[in-house]
Amino acid sequence: MQNSFDFQYVFELLPTLFRYLGVTMEMALWGFVFALILALGLALVRVFKIPVIQHLAALFISFFRGTPLLVQLFLLYYGLPQISPLFLMDAFTAAVLGLTLHFAAYMAESIRAAILGIDKSQMEACLSIGMTRLQAMKRVILPQASRVATPSLMNYFIDMIKSTSLAFTLGVAEIMAKAQMEASSSFKFFESFLAVAVIYWIIVLFFTRIQHLLEYKLNEAY
């Protein structure tokens, strides 16, 4: 009994776990949308070299890239409320916020690299017909940079889906938490965690497929 592997248990557990996938995907989607907005802001601040703010942005990026996501989540959820009750938030919000800040730092760098990779002559051509830098960014540079950045941003999205599993440490009832619960009540640890691994794998394969389709579409655009 001890060493046997209950294959059927894995199959039975899959539908149960799938029901918790919603929370996981909600965290990943919100986290990604917010991270994208924040990352774009950070990247633009750095590209335009806006005084003072650009250094704050660099500091922000350095901190959130330089420390583990788990530590950041603990700081946000368990740490901040100690400073002020204003920072009290539910576990789901803390998880989304943590994912947002963490991934925005990485995504900002890849957006910035994509912008800087666009040939300087494109900006000059915009300026030469009387556009402002901001107009040039919006109409010409960002549309081109987004094509360059899309593959890496999609990678971060996929990475983010996997990283939502850390939210169980804050007590968010997502699929990892459910798997953990099932494991400790049935003592079928291997089966439970294998089941959750399989689900993550399927989801990642699905989004990898979408990523390839998206890249294909983008490449034939112009």
Binding site: S121, E124, A125, I129, G130, R139, V140
Partner: protein, 246 residues
């Protein structure tokens, strides 16, 4: 209409433009010639403030700007008075031919999109690209791209179009179609300042030729004066060499 006074430009210790002064009348066609590395491109780029001059004043139309003390608003206003045709076309890669041409109207002049596209189409038809309206730059030949580049500059409503060696990146087979468009503009008395190595074009089209060397304007005059009776020794030897190549 255009007045350049005491213009100079240094890149670090390298003085590239030295005390440049000249004026251009409305409808005048100016060709700038001179050896490589003498600051011709830098001069044009300064007129469009793609490079910020070290000192000097530039006046185009009703915009007047002093290099030493200028605001970003004035720079944008000055740029709206001129447009630029680049050696390497520099078309917006993410936009079709017609979108490239309409862009300044839509974004800078706030022309309604349908109106802007109509104007853009008329200009593209004029430069012989009626069948390429919706083509992306990557699908166009060099000559076609440069004609879109000229069309884009024409649409920008500036007082003057600046051309920096518009044909020198082209395969020889495409040069004539681009020069033909420029000649047409000259016939219409579009004010132009053209940097080029095409001496034949300069002879035929220019009202005035400016010979630059080493950051200075050495000599200027009608094509007849510059090509047939140059006064300065350096103009003489440059012109002699340049004409021999053709």
């Amino acid at each position: 209409m255009i007045k350049i006074s005491n213009l100079s430009k240094e890149f670090g210790k390298l003085a590239v433009l030295k005390d440049i002064n000249f004026t251009v009348e409305k409808g005048e066609i100016i060709v700038i010639i001179g050896p490589s590395g003498t600051g011709k491109s830098t001069l044009l780029r300064c007129l469009n403030y793609l490079e910020t001059p070290t000192t000097g004043k530039i006046q185009i139309g009703n915009v007047d700007i002093d290099a030493v003390n200028h605001k970003q608003k004035e720079v944008t206003a000055l740029r709206q008075q001129s447009s630029f045709v680049f050696q390497n076309y520099s078309l917006f890669a993410n936009k079709t031919a017609i979108q490239n041409v309409a862009e300044s109207l839509i974004t800078v002049w706030k022309t309604p999109t349908s109106e802007a596209l109509k104007i853009a189409k008329e200009i593209l038809v004029k430069v012989g690209l009626a069948d390429k309206l919706d083509a992306y730059p990557s699908r166009l030949s060099g000559g076609q791209q440069q004609r879109v580049g000229i069309a884009r500059a024409m649409a920008a409503k500036g007082e003057v179009i600046l051309f920096d060696e518009p044909t020198s990146a082209l395969d020889p087979e495409w040069v004539d179609e681009v020069l033909a468009v420029m000649k047409q503009l000259a016939v219409e008395r579009q004010t132009m300042i053209v940097v080029t190595h095409e001496m034949q074009f300069a002879k035929e089209v220019a009202d005035r030729v400016i010979f630059m060397e080493d950051g200075y304007i050495v000599e200027q005059g009608t094509p007849q004066q510059i090509f047939e009776q140059p006064q300065n020794e350096r103009t003489k030897s440059f012109v002699k060499r340049a004409l021999k190549q053709h």
